[in-house]
Amino acid sequence: MAERTFYNEILTDHNLHPQHKKKIENPDYVLEGVNPSCGDDIFLSLRLSGDTIVDVGFEGDGCAISQASADMMAELVMGKTIAEAEHYMDLFYRMIKNEASEEEIEELEEASVLQDISHMPARVKCAVLGWHTLEEMLNKHKA
């Protein structure tokens, strides 16, 4: 039987050497996201300039999927507007539900390595931990 795993180099590299796993200066928002199925948590911080995300970082401990996914997300949304970040968010959620087209998945760049998570329902919560935390943060900002 074929092995279906996505623990490839891109993912393990983001896990072992995350570029955005750090405190950022003068964050506008810091929010904790918890994965209730395992108790893992991350603290996401965000700095905005107008509508643009100018810095994003995360801290915390967790599995490779949650850590790498948060790092890939940070890389994607850095320098983007809130609307653009929300577009990626929508694509990411649809990708892990196996509802995104090839072209849409390509837009997600390295985060596309997580597309096979749709075959692993038990790990979906790990992959979306960072994204959900970002979503909650942006909703707070807009409110």
């Binding site: 279906r4 623990y7 180099e9 967790g62 599995c63 490779a64 999927i65 790990r123």
Partner: protein, 407 residues
């Protein structure tokens, strides 16, 4: 009777025989042998009616089948009388029954409930609830890092102790606790001992009289029976003094608007239509285990456990939770791999058709006590093979490389 070959035992389990998976999550639930599935089907095909209700013959048959199952269970754990066996849904319900019915009634402010920190949430949360509702105090019984409850640690049991909640085998350490020593000490102070047998009854002979246990809870589904049937053993005089847990059909003697008396033990604790098919299947599972024999079951589980413990200890960066002595693991081996998160371990092993458990194993207080967040656990049953253990060890040995870490 001649001993069954391990291969033929494996063939008794349709899912195991037909699935490529190395199923090493038996502490969570076991697979079911054909004999158990057949017993349940036969009950529903030939004997099904609502037990205790009808005066017609079929209902009598259902009652007989259900009560026969009760006597098989009593026999299996060496209870003095089959009335001391209460059927429940699972060990959690059994433990809640004792907490709601015995704990809330008998405990008062100032009393102490001693609970080991290695308890599954189902033998911790009910006692936390009882403490909060009665004003009794929860007192922690702490094991050493090897998972051993030492004589010294038992000094928390004293004159104020009214109840001790302890697992016979921890679902994380896998180490058997000396229940007889604990009941003997607790009884000196007049305390009752509630034993969680969920991980022991399926894997070793348990004699409630020899242990002098006051209550023992276990689940059928961890010992080859279907989900949804469990057992509470209780000492007769304790069960008789306890109020019902749930109220409803077939647990009464007389019901008038202003006067109610309840049925005798055990029916007082079995409100509503019972899970007769489940009880019959549980009895069939026990008969099945007897037909294999404890010798064969324990020898095979011990051999698998030894191979797993010794194999894991030989892999760099792997740490066992609990003892490094294989004989201190009752078919349960919990481990960590440095740098690899347990959920990633379980996912990578899953991609190689090996099922293990990852997480806090419903023993979050124990994780806190050990200063770890989550762990991985392999747990064995008699149908597992050495080849499966070797596949598991090989996969574990490759984990760090798969995650881009040095060997």
């Amino acid at each position: 009777m001649c001993a069954r070959s391990l291969e033929s035992i494996r063939g008794d389990f349709p899912l195991i025989a037909s699935h490529p998976l190395a199923y090493l999550d038996n502490a969570a639930t076991t697979q079911k042998p054909a004999a158990v599935l057949k017993a349940m089907e036969e009950y529903y095909e030939k004997s099904n009616a609502n037990p205790f209700r009808g005066v017609y013959e079929l209902s009598e048959e259902a009652t007989t089948a259900y009560e026969h199952a009760r006597s098989v269970v009593a026999d299996f754990i060496h209870a003095k009388r089959s009335e001391e066996i209460v059927f429940t849904r699972n060990a959690s319900e059994s433990l809640n029954l004792v907490a709601y019915s015995y704990g809330r009634k008998m405990l008062k402010p100032g009393d102490e409930i001693v609970v080991s920190v290695m308890e599954h949430h189902s033998n911790f949360l009910p006692w936390k609830m009882v403490a909060e509702e009665t004003g009794a105090t929860l007192v922690a019984l702490n094991p050493n890092p090897d998972g051993e409850i030492t004589k010294e640690s038992l000094s928390v049991i004293g004159p104020k102790t009214k109840l001790v909640a302890i697992t016979q085998v921890s679902n994380v350490f896998g180490r058997p606790n000396d229940i007889a020593a604990i009941t003997s000490l607790a009884h000196q102070y007049g305390a009752v001992v509630v034993v969680d047998g969920a991980q022991s009854v399926p894997h070793m002979p348990v004699d409630v009289q020899a242990l002098d246990a006051d209550f023992l809870a276990f689940s059928g589904h961890k010992m080859f029976a279907p989900m949804g049937i469990g057992v509470l053993y209780g000492r007769m005089e304790l069960l008789e003094a306890m109020p019902p847990f749930m109220r409803g059909g077939e647990m009464i003697e007389i019901v008038h608007w202003d006067r109610v008396t309840y049925a005798p033990v055990p029916h007082k604790f079995e409100a509503g239509t019972v899970n007769a098919g489940g009880a019959v299947a549980l009895a069939a599972a026990m008969e099945y285990m007897k037909s294999i024999g404890w010798d064969t079951i324990m020898k095979q589980e011990e051999a698998l456990t030894r191979r797993a413990v010794e194999g894991l200890l030989a892999i760099p960066h792997v740490r066992l939770v609990g003892s490094e002595d294989p004989s201190m693991h009752q078919g349960i081996v919990t481990f960590l791999v440095e740098g690899v998160h347990p959920h990633d371990i379980a996912s990578i092993l899953d991609s190689k058709q090996i099922a293990v458990r990852a997480g806090h194993h419903c023993a979050w207080p124990l994780m806190d006590y050990l200063g770890i967040h989550s762990t991985c656990r392999a747990s064995f049953a008699v149908y597992n093979t050495m080849e499966e253990v070797d596949r598991f060890l090989e996969a574990v040995a490759g984990l760090r490389t798969a995650m881009g870490l040095p060997d």
